[in-house]
Amino acid sequence: MLVRRPPDLRSSEITDESLYLDRRDWLAAVGALALASVVPRDAAGQDAPQAIGKPYGLQPNDTPTPWEDVTTYNNFYEFGTDKSDPAENAKGFRTRPWTVRVDGAVAKPADYQLEDFLKPARIEDRIYRHRCVEAWSMVIPWRGIALADVIKRAEPTSKARFVELTTLNDPQRMPGQRYPVLQWPYVEGLRLDEALHPLAFLATGVYGRTLPAQNGAPLRLVVPWKYGFKGGKSIVRIRLTETMPRTAWNLAAPQEYGFYSNVNPEVDHPRWSQAKERRIGEFLRRPTLMFNGYADQVASLYAGMDLRKHY
């Protein structure tokens, strides 16, 4: 029986005593009613992690995976290959200034400062299921914008059939890129109709907070019906293309990782079964759901396709 304590409060999240005392004075002035609305803040002025958002495709027994796990158990090879490496090596990774280039088969190509890129879009909190190709899973309260918004803004031309998302390539700041573990920069891609699907999301935050670097700050793709590695992190370029992008894992091991990489319990990875998954924090394995539980919303995108062939 596995029982998880609620996420621990790190010492950095504990309000400094002097601030706390100041606030008490302030509270006294404002009145006791304000007490309920005060959320503890950390040194960076961020609210304590809060599992907020509209649930999408959650099963009755799905609860958000603790913040501690979401932010310390990461596959982000740009910061090292061990799960704990990114949280360690991404400390101090600067995400401002940050430029996002939108180009390729679009009428309005542009280089955006991140702030300008995000400004016109509506920031939403969404709780999604997350299934890694390694047969573990989480439930994550993301914050971000719909990918479709930024694609439509660029006005794709009739030639646009795919969307290619590229991660920052900077071995100085991303020490994992000093080793040829994968072909850098990390490139991911979607078919245009997949990218325009309302579930396709660009995360800028998690747990109501700014996205930690180890989770792909400042901009990270989230495609909840696909295996986690499809979610490119620290994105600097979104390019609309006519041909299918060559994606990082597909280049590394084409027989193991296809372009689509939809979650599918019936199609095994060559080295392990995909029928079940271990939810982080739970002991008994759960059955994996077709399209990770989003079949109702996305199955029509693949009507008539042989998903064994297009894995």
Partner: protein, 228 residues
Amino acid sequence: MLAAFDRGLRVVVEWLHARVGTVKQPGWFRAGLFIAALIPLLVAFGALGSDLVMGTRWFGSNPIKQAEHFLGEWTLRLLMFTVAITPLRRLTGWNWLAKHRRTLGLFAFAYVATHFLVWGLLDVQLDWPELVKDLTKRPYIVIGFIAFLMMTALAVTSTQNAIRSMKQRWNKLHRLVYVIVALGLVHFLMAVKRDIEDPLIFAAVFAGIFLLRWRLTRSEWSAVRTTA
């Protein structure tokens, strides 16, 4: 090149024998070795048990996987110490090391058996169809399982009685340890995704030990041993 290596090795061996060759086994050695070899196993049980029952994160967010990796790597480490005994003995002249090889080998078996049990009971959770599929169709698991069966055979025949009754065949059978190491390394290499650094480091250390063993156990070295 090999001749130059041998000449250098001879210098080292003569120097070491002259310096430390007469050192006797310290009184605490047997108990110390036993405790040292046992500690990682206790750590594995403690960390995994605490993580599963109390929700701690000694083994991170996915403690069962982490325990598997931890136990697998310690199996390789124990095998490494086991096969290092003979070259180390030749290097230093400490012949008393020989009787500890069995202890280390049996500890390696304890680690691999725990590795196998954690995988079957806690990871796959006795999902028989999947266990059968894994053990027959997934090459890296098949390879690991074969190595485990071989280690079982060596553990079972590690008694004084078996050594006596099997005579020459015992030596032949226990040379399987080299096959086991090779299979273990391949199993590790195939299990990782692209981060092949750790298995390659293990492979390099084993290669070094085997090279030393190969050069140090040729007959012409007996002269060095007697003069020491």
